[in-house]
Amino acid sequence: MLLEGLAERLQNTFKKLRGKGKLTETDINEAMREVRLALLEADVSLPIVKSFIQRIKERSLGAEVLESLTPAQQIIKIVDQELTQLMGAEQGKAQFSTTGDATVFMLAGLQGSGKTTTAGKLALYYRKQGHQPLLVGVDVYRPAAIKQLEVLAKQVNVPFFSLGEQVSPLKTARASLEQAKAQGCDLIIIDTAGRLQIDTVLMEELAQLKGILSPQETFLVVDSMAGQDAVNVARSFNEDLGLTGVILTKLDSDTRGGAALSVKAVTGCPIKFIGMGEKLDALEPFYPDRMAARILGMGDMLSLIEKAQASFDQQKAQELERKLRKAEFTLDDFLEQIGQVRSMGSLDQVLGMIPGLGNVKQLRQIKEGFDEKDFGRIEAIIRSMTPGERRDTGIITGSRRRRIALGSGTTVQDVNRLLKQYDQTKKMFKQFGENISGKAGRKAKPFKLPF
C-alpha cells in the first residue's frame, strides 16, 4: 500500500517517545535517526533527507515541543507540516494557452516510466473536461511506440497524429501544430521517446522540440518506484529542459514513493498528476497534504470521504454513523456495507484510506482474514441466517451454525470465522465511533492518532 511502510516506521519511532513527560535532546536525536532511515528506506534522496531532518530537529528542539505535554504529537505535527511543504504547498493545475492558439503539453522521461500511457490518460482527462485533444507521437526509437499511442488514441476517442518512424520528431512536431489547427483541436499532447538524462544527443532533441512547440506544460513522467537516482534524473531534465510539472506513475503499487519527495524538492516543480493504474481513467490530481497524511499513517481520509460521497446514500450513511457510534451494527448492516464498500473499490484500497491502518491490530487481522473472493461466501452465510440471528449473533448455537453452513453451502468453520470477524469489526468500529463523537462538550477531533 502507498507509503504505508514509511508510516509504520514513523509510528514505531514515536511510540518510543510516547509517555515521556519531557524530551531530551538525546531522545530527539534517536527519533531523528529512525526518521532518517525510514525516509531512506522509502527511497527519498539522501540530501533531501538530510535537510529535512535538520529542519525537523531544529523545530523539535524548540520550546513548542520540549515544553509540550504531548511532545510526540508535536513532533508528528512538525513532520507532517514539513512533509506537506516539501511536496508542494498546493495541488497543481495545468497551464493553458491564453492566446487562442492550441495549448501544448509535452511529456518527457526515462524509458519505461509510463509516458505513452500517461499521454492517453491526459487526453481522456481533458476530453472529459470539454477540450479537443490531439495525441502526437514522436517516439521514433522504441519499436511500435507510435502504434501504441495510436491504439490508445482510438481507445480514448481522440484524434491522433504522427508522420511515422521514418520522419524526424522535429518535423512531426512542426506539422502537428498545423494539424491541430486544421482539426480544430485546442490541446496538443506530445509523447516523446524515453531517454537517459546523460544522453546528450537525445536531450538536445528534446530541447529543440520544446523550442518548436513552446509548450505551456513540460511534464517529467517519473516512476514512483524509482530509487536514489530519481533526483539526478529530475535535476538533469529540469536543467536541460525547464520543467513545469511532474507526473508520478505506478502509484497503485506498494512503493513507498519517496521519489515524489525528491523530485519535487530538486526541481521545484509541482507534482500535478498521479497514475493509479493501467486503465485509462486512472489519472488523479495530486494532493500533497493527503500524501503527507498517508505517510504519517493517518490515512487518506479526504479521498475516502470523496469516494464514499460518490457511492453512499446520504441517509443510509447517517444511519450507519449512528449505529457505528452505538455499536448497534448488525450483520444486516454488515451485508449492506459489503455491497457499498465494494462499489468504492477493492477492500485493500478502502482500508488503506482509514486512519491509522498500519497500527490497528484488529483491522489488520480482518484484512488478513479477508479475501476479495470471500465476499460472495459471506453474503451467502448471512443470507442463510434468520432475521433474529442477524440482529443478535449471540443466539447462534452449534446446531444453528450447522444449519447456516448447510444453507449457504459452506462449512461450520466458515461460519465461525465470519462471526469472529464480525465481532472484531464491531469492536473496532466502536472504538472509531468513540473517537468520532469525542468527549462530551469538547470539540471533537476527527480521529485519535494511533500513537
Binding site: L110, A144, Q148, Q197, M225, A226, Q228, D229, V233, G258
Partner: protein, 307 residues
C-alpha cells in the same frame, strides 16, 4: 575483455558515484571511528543497497576491523569489496534443456524492458545458431504484440501471436505446440508488465506457468524477472512477489547504462537469494551481457588504471 570493458563503461557512472565517494571519504578520514562508519553507511544507502544489507555489511566491517586491528580506512575498502563479492557469488549461466526444447518465461512490472530484453536474447541465441521462437503473451498493452513483432523481424526469429486482448495462456499453449512441431531449441515467452501487487494479474502468471509445466514437463527452464536498475527498495517487493507466483530463477538487470547505482541487486541476493543472470546496458540488440558478480565488482571498484 569486451564484456569487462562494456560493464566498466556502463558502471563508470556508478563508480563516479559510489566508489568516488568511498575513495573521497577514505582520503579525508584519518581514523576508523563512528563518524566514518556512519558516512560509509550513508554512501551505501545512496547506492540503493537498502537498510538491511547496509546495516549487516557495516556491522561485519566493524567486527572485522576490530578483529584485524585495522587502522587505515583504506583497508576497509578492500574488505568491503570482498564482502560484496562473497554476497554476489559466482556467475550463474542460463539453464538449458539438453534433451530438447528450452523454455524461458520473462516477467516483470510495467516498463522495465521485458520486450527489449527478449529481442536481445533472441539476437544472441540466433548468433549461436539456435532455432528460436518468440511467444507474444502480452496481449494486454496497446501495441505490445507489434513491438515484439518488430524485434522478431529484426532478428529473423519466428513468433506466435494471437489477437490483442486474447488469453495469454492460450498463446503460450500454442507456442509450445508450435515449438515442438518446428523443432525449436529456445522458446522465449513475453508477458504483459504487471504490478506485483495486482493479485488477479499474478494469478494469470501462475496459470501461464502451470500451462507451460503441464505441456512440457521440466519447463520453464528459466523464469527471468526483469528489473529496472533505477528502481529503489521496491525492487525487493517485486522480486519477492514474482518469486512467490512464478518461482523466479534469475534476474535480468536492465538500464545499467544510466546513472543508476544498481545496489539493489545486493539486497535481493541477500534477502531472496535470486542470482542476477543477465545485464542490459543499452537499446541495441548487442547490449545484453552475462552477469558475473566478480566482473561487476571489479568494474565497480576499479579506479580506471587496469583495462
Amino acid at each position: 575483455m569486451a564484456l569487462f570493458s562494456k560493464l566498466k563503461e556502463s558502471l563508470t557512472k556508478s563508480r563516479d558515484g559510489f566508489i568516488g565517494k568511498v575513495t573521497q571519504l577514505v582520503a579525508v578520514t584519518h581514523k576508523i571511528d563512528e563518524e566514518f562508519f556512519e558516512e560509509l553507511e550513508t554512501i551505501m544507502l545512496q547506492a540503493d543497497m537498502g537498510v538491511a544489507v547496509t546495516t549487516r555489511l557495516i556491522s561485519e566491517l566493524r567486527t572485522e576491523a576490530k578483529k584485524q586491528r585495522l587502522k587505515e580506512p583504506g583497508q576497509i575498502k578492500a574488505l568491503l569489496s570482498s564482502q560484496m563479492e562473497e554476497m554476489l557469488g559466482g556467475p550463474v549461466p542460463l539453464n538449458v534443456n539438453t534433451q530438447g526444447l528450452t523454455v524461458y518465461l520473462v516477467v516483470g512490472v510495467n516498463g522495465v524492458g521485458k520486450t527489449t530484453t527478449i529481442g536481445k536474447m533472441a539476437h544472441s541465441l540466433i548468433r549461436d545458431q539456435k532455432k528460436v521462437l518468440l511467444a507474444a503473451a502480452d496481449t494486454f498493452r496497446a501495441a505490445a504484440i507489434e513491438q515484439l513483432e518488430i524485434w522478431s523481424e529484426r532478428t529473423g526469429v519466428e513468433m506466435v501471436k494471437h489477437q490483442a486482448g486474447s488469453d495469454p495462456a492460450a498463446v503460450v499453449f500454442d507456442a509450445i505446440q508450435a515449438a515442438a512441431r518446428r523443432g525449436i531449441d529456445h522458446l522465449i515467452i513475453d508477458t504483459a508488465g504487471r504490478l506485483h501487487t495486482k493479485s488477479n494479474l499474478m494469478e494469470e502468471l501462475r496459470k501461464i506457468r502451470r500451462v507451460i509445466s503441464r505441456e512440457l514437463p521440466g519447463a520453464p527452464h528459466e523464469v527471468l524477472l526483469v528489473l529496472d536498475a533505477t528502481t529503489g527498495q521496491n525492487a525487493i517487493r517485486q522480486a519477492e512477489l514474482f518469486k512467490e507466483a512464478t518461482e523466479v530463477t534469475g534476474i535480468v538487470l536492465t538500464k545499467l547504462d544510466g546513472t543508476a547505482k544498481g545496489g539493489i541487486i545486493l539486497a535481493i541476493k541477500e534477502e531472496l537469494d535470486i542470482p542476477v543472470k543477465l545485464v542490459g546496458t543499452g537499446e541495441g540488440s548487442e547490449d545484453l551481457k552475462a552477469f558475473s558478480g566478480r566482473d561487476f565488482l571489479e568494474a565497480l571498484f576499479d579506479e580506471g588504471d587496469a583495462e
